[in-house]
Symmetry: D2
Subunit: 316 residues, 4 copies
Amino acid sequence: MEHHSKEEKLQNPIRQAKIIENMSVDDLVHAIDGCAFGAGKLADAVDIYTEMLGGGSTSFFGLAGAMVPAGMRQIVADLIRDGYIDVLVTTGANMVHEIVESMGLHHYKGCCECDDIELKNDEINRIYDVYLPEPYFVDFEEKMKAILSEIGSETISIRELMTHLGNNIDDRNSILKIAADMNVPVYCPAIQDSMIGLQAWLYKQTRPLNVDAFADMREIIDICYQAKNPGALLIGGGVPKNYIFQSMLISHQEFEYAIQLTMDTPETGGLSGATLDEARSWGKVSETARSVTVHSDATITLPILVAAARSRLAKM
Amino acid sequence: MEHHSKEEKLQNPIRQAKIIENMSVDDLVHAIDGCAFGAGKLADAVDIYTEMLGGGSTSFFGLAGAMVPAGMRQIVADLIRDGYIDVLVTTGANMVHEIVESMGLHHYKGCCECDDIELKNDEINRIYDVYLPEPYFVDFEEKMKAILSEIGSETISIRELMTHLGNNIDDRNSILKIAADMNVPVYCPAIQDSMIGLQAWLYKQTRPLNVDAFADMREIIDICYQAKNPGALLIGGGVPKNYIFQSMLISHQEFEYAIQLTMDTPETGGLSGATLDEARSWGKVSETARSVTVHSDATITLPILVAAARSRLAKM
Amino acid sequence: MEHHSKEEKLQNPIRQAKIIENMSVDDLVHAIDGCAFGAGKLADAVDIYTEMLGGGSTSFFGLAGAMVPAGMRQIVADLIRDGYIDVLVTTGANMVHEIVESMGLHHYKGCCECDDIELKNDEINRIYDVYLPEPYFVDFEEKMKAILSEIGSETISIRELMTHLGNNIDDRNSILKIAADMNVPVYCPAIQDSMIGLQAWLYKQTRPLNVDAFADMREIIDICYQAKNPGALLIGGGVPKNYIFQSMLISHQEFEYAIQLTMDTPETGGLSGATLDEARSWGKVSETARSVTVHSDATITLPILVAAARSRLAKM
Amino acid sequence: MEHHSKEEKLQNPIRQAKIIENMSVDDLVHAIDGCAFGAGKLADAVDIYTEMLGGGSTSFFGLAGAMVPAGMRQIVADLIRDGYIDVLVTTGANMVHEIVESMGLHHYKGCCECDDIELKNDEINRIYDVYLPEPYFVDFEEKMKAILSEIGSETISIRELMTHLGNNIDDRNSILKIAADMNVPVYCPAIQDSMIGLQAWLYKQTRPLNVDAFADMREIIDICYQAKNPGALLIGGGVPKNYIFQSMLISHQEFEYAIQLTMDTPETGGLSGATLDEARSWGKVSETARSVTVHSDATITLPILVAAARSRLAKM
């Protein structure tokens, strides 16, 4: 916590946002740059993300929440393709839905106020207002069986499993495929907590599959050791946030940039909603890091953040 | 709740958002139009707001929360000036801060993690990450005294008080002034719950001031009676949301359009977070109304909504 | 913000809660007294509330949210009857539902996941998981007409209107009746924002009714001037929270005790979720006040707080 | 979604809670049984949990969030000891803090509004309002080294690692020890996402440690297959919630009882806040299951739930 003089505290007048037709996303972010609350924080996030991506920071991306089913897959895939993500840490569920999409199968826009028994009878699984036909998991099982059968009996890490999945996906918009092509590691610590885990279990009933729970740690910690001005963009909290932070912590480096886009708040005491200041007490985020948390729906703030940062990077 | 066949449920595939540099806000909204969660809902809100504003709907605007200190004043002022708000219902606090801004005094961008005792010693009042110098209230008092002294002893309504305030403001960006100029009524049911109320109390110590608590109701209910395809955009909940809804209810009309931009959720049982479906059980919102709630920071979603809707209206 | 030495920071070990059968509520609060997060804060709230009620503090009670429909009416009524509330500030809606209950009419436990169109066809109004038969408002109208007709044409304050309502209620569990009997003032700044307001409007169509919007302020500010170690228990935020705080502010006194039971969080920037530290920057809450916010459902925390504080007060 | 006649909808009047001194926790739960919002839901949760524990249900317990640092460790340990938990699924972090406590080291009650840089300089790590001295992790490392060194080079599952940890803990209040003694399996899918993972990594630098990421799945799915009227109590969401639900799903059984104590709400679309109705669309929770979500701080609701259910079970 910095202490400022009274004069320093009153240096930046709120500038009332002027919103006009046909403005670009970056214009809009500049228009809310002088505002407070979430608007001002989102504008800060754009500044920080632009500096982080433009300055050669080693860039970590934490992807929790059901972001792929919600429509954020292409944004993540494009960020990897364009070199803006060096390390992706995500959840098993996002990777399941990413594989489903890569098979040409779709998620559907549904309704969050509905009759779930009726959905069950229709064999439709619901994720808030997203519908997914249950029979898709039969296709998914076939796909997974085929991919897993090409893994030998040697022990591999979860990251190697993710790379193997990516190498066996034929879809140019696939997060996993692009990551594999670009040599961007994808970590997924709780992989067994997903339909991928279930398929692995089914597969292991009859054939060997040896995935070491701890084998990734050396690799990600090495990346942290060698990271340059590391920065983290965290979508939601969960395992990705903690795993990114603890890996940096153990490497005795600290994040110099940190952005959280989340609806979680600190009051529950859980890590997902914990402030980035709390992370400073641990040495996960440096004392002088540029950091901001935007408490707002990430399916809204992520597209704005990326659109504005890309616009600025294009001018550099 | 509508019931659809399985085929109808699976008609709209999620379209993964494609975000590119230099895109316009409206392009961005189109890009997230096929997404789910808050993104899809915000895109729906833009559709609904455009139809509502473009189709001659009687347009109600509920403004709760500290939106003026946060930088949303100009957006509201411009919407009134351009004929997009027919009725404004707001809180006393927003009107206090609107008057402060109209005097050329500023709010300042501060910090939400700070030492409030230090702020108190610096005579700075805090509103989340907004700072307001306490001495401004001395200027505000002078301004209010001057304005109130021109009101006679006849009984007036709160709306008439708001119009009187607007007529005595000399700032072309003032919500109250523009509303007064455009004959847009501003209702502020809990006006005494604000610094305006405190000034009114001080003034009443020595001179007559008669503001009738119930005098507004006939007027707003008459507007509701005569409303054409009424629509409501509600920023936050609070008194503005309820007052707009109950006025429409008593007029035996119903809202045909309703948009909520709020972080409040239904689980507390309070009206602020209540769903728009709940409002249907009361007959506040019609069975067939187009409605959506976007659970996200309104200082982010309001600028996007307005920028995109204005872009579309300009093309009509 | 206090600064402590490292030793001071590590003085109070977390005591793991031991929960056993047949324990009393006060035992449970003692059991969670050494816990963190909401549990520790609730235990603090019990300490503060007991000291506040036991020590002769002038006791303000802010009641927002739909607490009467949810079943919290008796708790408030009993606190008034037993002398634990000196000033009640509440919403019009709570007073409407209080009058409905006083007429022997009931609210009903319903379901929050329901078909609101079906409810509308059944003439049932929904408040989250509470159902209220719409025809009750016909009875309510008759009751209000009868009560209002006994008010003359002189100008009265909203508080006087509340007292008049209380004097005309025949139900020994009525908040308004007990408050009137005990000379406890009930303030309801946004009274027109409720069915009481609508009835007042209907009544004013044919007969005089003059309620001054600002007439209460002198009275509540005088109470604040004369208050002794004032304390506030705030259920939810909204108008009651602000009105209580601004009245104390203008009196140049400060609250020495402040407890918030709310689900609102600070991130939206609105007053409802604002921290009590923020209130210190304004001088609403004193630098040395004992204060705590419990972020948890108030229909759970209020009963616990009252049960535990009453148990302790009984032993004093 | 059930459809009821109008008469059925209006069968259960809200009963206003009567709160008196010296009442027991179970009395309090009975007092709020007729209330709505969180109060009514908590009372439902007590009914469901009592039936679930009293009727021989196979009982799953999901423990997310920083519940052990906050003081909920003893409650969980006692539930296992008394046979009320058949399967525990938790996070690595909770198990780290459980081991720290088992070593006689303490967490400390701190402050959530503090100077995190000062804390860092004091070598204190913060978890909301809990402080943990950083040097404790040196002791933790020694302890882990000693325990891990007794594991051979054969491949084990994460559950076996947890059992091994429990067998090497000497503290009669330890969750892990009691679970090991009682043959209650502890699953911790994201174990590498914790300080245990970091210690495992350090250990693996020099010695073999083979923990199979997928080896647990057969075991937990077998438990699900054989479960009798399975029930789940979920504290927070996260990996524990999903892992419990997906294991039951794959076994083609469904939960007949499900209770969530959480502050997460559905609007973000993430699994943590997803409704139990959503789980019905997947077949994770049965159509006819008794289920309830209490949106309130779990450090408050868990002690009440357990105190009241234990009181009722003691009378059976």
